[in-house]
């Protein structure tokens, strides 16, 4: 411990975290590093790899649906494909991605701290995460087959199916644990480690969004954890909990599952909203409009988002009272999200907008998320939902919110922060071309889902009626365009890490938050001296920031 601190003091100020040589060298220097920046990169490698697997599965699903009968795989394989696709995308891609990658890397820097509150726990979360992810991949290849229940694991099927459920459930449980620990770490970091002068309302909005998200993570993740654990227990020991033959109420499982999984959609989207709130003011060179509203609306989402879970159960025969209450609350929860969209648009208004790649993705986020959100409101209406539930309309909604939201938020963040993280710039032209291909592919792929759903095409269905084929073909073609765009984007980013133009200036985009005050790439210790903060994060009058006197020992 002592020697480590010593080395830090020797070169921690000047050396980039990428070149730093600590106790361990080479690969171990990464795998055992407790530096929040290195852990962020580790997460980035993990998440993007899983994302690639998820996209491949999605691509195969689409290929299968090219024709109304079997095209490339059998029905059982199809069921496993969409289940694992859902599990990977939800639990190991979009839930962790923004907090674990960009939160880890930038939260401490934005707050003016040298690391997160519990660096070692931080590293532990990464290992838990990888173990969980690998378990899920294993379930795909081991005999017995991957989970085929859909990512929702509904009982009684999940208690009875012969596939490798226990693997999958354990994996989700472990990943949940990792997520709780990350949340706990961020909450403590935000409470205890802000730089002098940075009071709550001088925090960047990204930090606010992580704060709200972390609360949701800490509070609701244990609920799904215990619920899935009970399914395991029920499978292994035949303890009566959810299985109706043992007296259980399968709907209770659905309640418990959605008690987490609805708030989880806010774990998914709120950090992405935080990214957007960073990017919009920078690329319109304007103070963000309604800072406090945006900050509070994150908290509002966290609170109200936890109270609407049963809108996933409108068609299950809940009591009428519950149907009414949850429908009403669902309409309310749209308000905080709408507040954000209004504030972003107001910021854009009369700003001098620079259409760089991050900004393009951010604008696409607003557009796609609005479509996703509005279709959500449609489904929140009881009578309409009874018709739309379990159709492709839902699948369209999921993808517009989750992929159009968090997916595009991720791409925006990559284009915004990657140059800072590695000190190299990607090819901006290619980035813009890739954006347009992704954007067009996305809409060609997912918009037909709304039409299909409206026509009555059921989700999770291997066969379909011939009259749906036209839209399925369009969607499949869309998936090819989308995958092409994603490939171009990723290759462009990867190539830039090796061959990209070197960047030495600190402030690449003209941002006002603290990460743009430190060197590119940041040094091991982030700051030579802990800065003192006087202004809010988005004040574009002049650069009034001042790094202050010697810190008191």
């Amino acid at each position: 411990m002592a020697s480590e601190t010593l080395t830090l003091h020797n070169n921690g100020h000047e050396v980039s975290y990428l070149d730093y040589q600590g106790k361990h060298k080479g690969l171990l220097g990464w795998l055992l590093s407790t530096d929040h920046k290195r852990i962020g990169i580790l997460y980035m490698i993990g998440v993007l790899s899983f994302f690639a697997v998820g996209v491949t599965l999605g691509f195969l699903i689409r290929l299968e649906l090219l024709t109304p009968q079997g095209t490339i795989v059998g029905p059982q394989a199809y069921n496993e494909f969409f289940t694992v696709h859902g599990i990977i995308m939800i639990f190991i891609v979009v839930i962790p991605v923004i907090p674990a990658v960009f939160g880890n890397f930038f939260l401490p820097i934005m707050l003016g701290a040298k690391d997160v509150a519990f660096p070692r726990i931080n590293l532990l979360t990464w290992y838990l995460y990888i173990i969980g992810g690998v378990l899920i991949l294993l379930s795909l290849v081991l005999p017995g087959g991957a989970a085929d229940t859909g990512w929702t694991f509904y009982v009684p099927y999940s208690v009875r199916t012969g596939t490798n459920m226990i693997f999958t459930l354990t994996a989700v449980f472990i990943i949940g644990f990792s997520s709780i620990l990350t949340g706990l770490n961020f909450l403590t970091t935000i409470h205890r480690m802000r730089a002098p002068g940075m009071d709550w309302f001088k925090m960047p909005l990204f930090a606010w969004s992580l704060y709200a998200t972390s609360w949701i993570q800490v509070i609701v993740t244990p609920i799904v954890g215990i619920t899935l654990l009970m399914v395991i227990v029920e499978r292994v020991f035949h303890v009566g909990i959810f299985d109706p033959t043992l007296g259980g109420d399968p709907l209770l499982f659905q309640h418990m599952f959605w008690m987490y999984s609805h708030p989880a959609v806010y774990i998914i989207i709120v950090p992405a909203m935080g990214v957007i709130s960073e990017i919009i003011p920078v690329f319109s060179q304007r103070t963000i409009f309604g800072y406090k509203f945006i900050a509070y609306s994150s908290l509002g989402i966290a609170v109200f988002g936890s109270l609407v879970w049963a809108h996933h159960m409108f068609a299950t025969g809940m009591s009428d009272t519950a149907e009414f209450v949850f429908s009403l609350l669902t309409f309310l929860v749209a308000i905080p999200s709408a507040i954000k969209v209004f504030n972003w648009t107001a910021t854009l208004y009369k700003g001098s907008i620079k259409l760089e790649a991050p900004m393009l993705y951010a604008l696409a986020f607003i557009f796609l998320f609005s479509i996703g959100g509005l279709t959500g409101i449609i489904q929140g209406a009881l009578n309409v939902d009874l018709y739309l539930t379990d159709t492709y309309f839902i699948v369209g909604h999921i993808h517009y919110v989750v992929f159009g939201g968090t997916g595009f938020g991720l791409f925006a963040a990559l284009h915004y922060w990657l140059p800072k993280m590695f000190g190299r710039m990607y090819n901006k032209k290619v980035a813009k071309v890739a954006f347009w291909i992704v954007f067009i592919g996305f809409n060609v792929l997912y918009f037909p889902f709304f039409i299909l759903g409206w026509m009555g095409m059921p989700r999770r269905s291997y066969h379909y009626l011939p009259q749906f084929q036209l839209y399925h073909v369009i969607a499949t073609v869309g998936s090819w365009i989308l995958v092409l765009g994603l490939l171009i984007m990723m290759v462009n980013l990867l190539v830039s890490l090796i061959k990209g133009k070197k960047i030495t200036e600190n402030n690449i985009w003209g941002g006002e938050t603290l990460e743009w005050k430190v060197s590119t790439p940041p040094t091991v210790e982030n700051f030579e001296e802990i800065p003192e903060v006087f202004d809010g994060p988005y004040e574009y009058k002049q650069n009034e920031y001042a790094s202050m006197e010697e810190e008191v020992k």
């Binding site: 020991f237 303890v239 009566g240 909990i241 259980g248």
Partner: protein
């Protein structure tokens, strides 16, 4: 906050930070059990009669005894912190060991109880249990899950306190650096609180 305070925090250890982490962890533990309590309340509401009948089979004496044991272990745990605060290392170590022993006694009682239940055929998956009315199957399902998970926490707690005892002996936990012990204590008390609820909910249904 003033600059000075903050600067000090950045460099030195920050006990409040550690405790805050621990409290947040306790919340997630609380909600882990919270989920089970949700299930319990729903099923008890649906099957009041069956729950009451099944709970009559519990050994109330052992349950009460175990409650007292666990409460007392909480006392010794709290006292061990008070001792270290006063620099009384030996006393603190002694009290920590007593706490572990109480935990052990609790577990022994549990084993006795469970083996009794198992001997009567009331174990998960058994034929005689499966033939009972749904409410009673659920009661025992919840009983084994909740009490079992709690037992697991007692074991973890004992292990953690064991480590603390070693740390205290080795001088890593001292009069002015005992936040680890405090955190372990917090965990132990939470386990106690959960039992405070489990006890009436499973043993004392009228």
């Amino acid at each position: 906050m003033t600059t000075q305070e903050h600067a000090v925090e950045q460099v030195h250890r920050d006990d409040i930070r550690s405790k805050m982490g621990m409290w947040l962890f306790l919340f997630s533990e609380l909600l882990l059990f919270g989920g089970l309590f949700f299930m319990y309340s729903v099923y008890r509401f649906m099957h009041q009669q069956d729950f009451s009948i099944a709970s009559k089979e519990m050994n109330t004496f052992l349950g009460t005894l175990n409650t007292v044991i666990l409460l007392t272990s909480s006392l010794t745990m709290a006292l061990s912190i008070a001792a270290i605060q006063r620099g009384k290392k030996a006393l603190s170590i002694f009290l920590q060991i007593v706490t572990i022993l109480f935990g052990l006694a609790f577990m022994v009682n549990k084993v006795i109880e469970w083996s009794h239940e198992f001997a009567e055929g009331n174990f998960p998956g058994s034929a005689s249990l499966a033939n009972r009315p749904p409410g009673q199957i659920l009661y025992f399902g919840l009983y084994y899950s909740m009490v079992g998970l709690h037992g697991l926490h007692v074991l973890v707690g004992m292990t953690v306190i064991g480590f603390m005892t070693v740390f205290t002996i080795r001088g890593k936990i001292t009069q002015d650096n005992y936040v680890k012990l405090e955190a372990a204590g917090l965990y132990w008390h939470l386990v106690d609180i959960i039992w405070i609820f489990l006890f009436p909910l499973f043993y004392l249904i009228t």
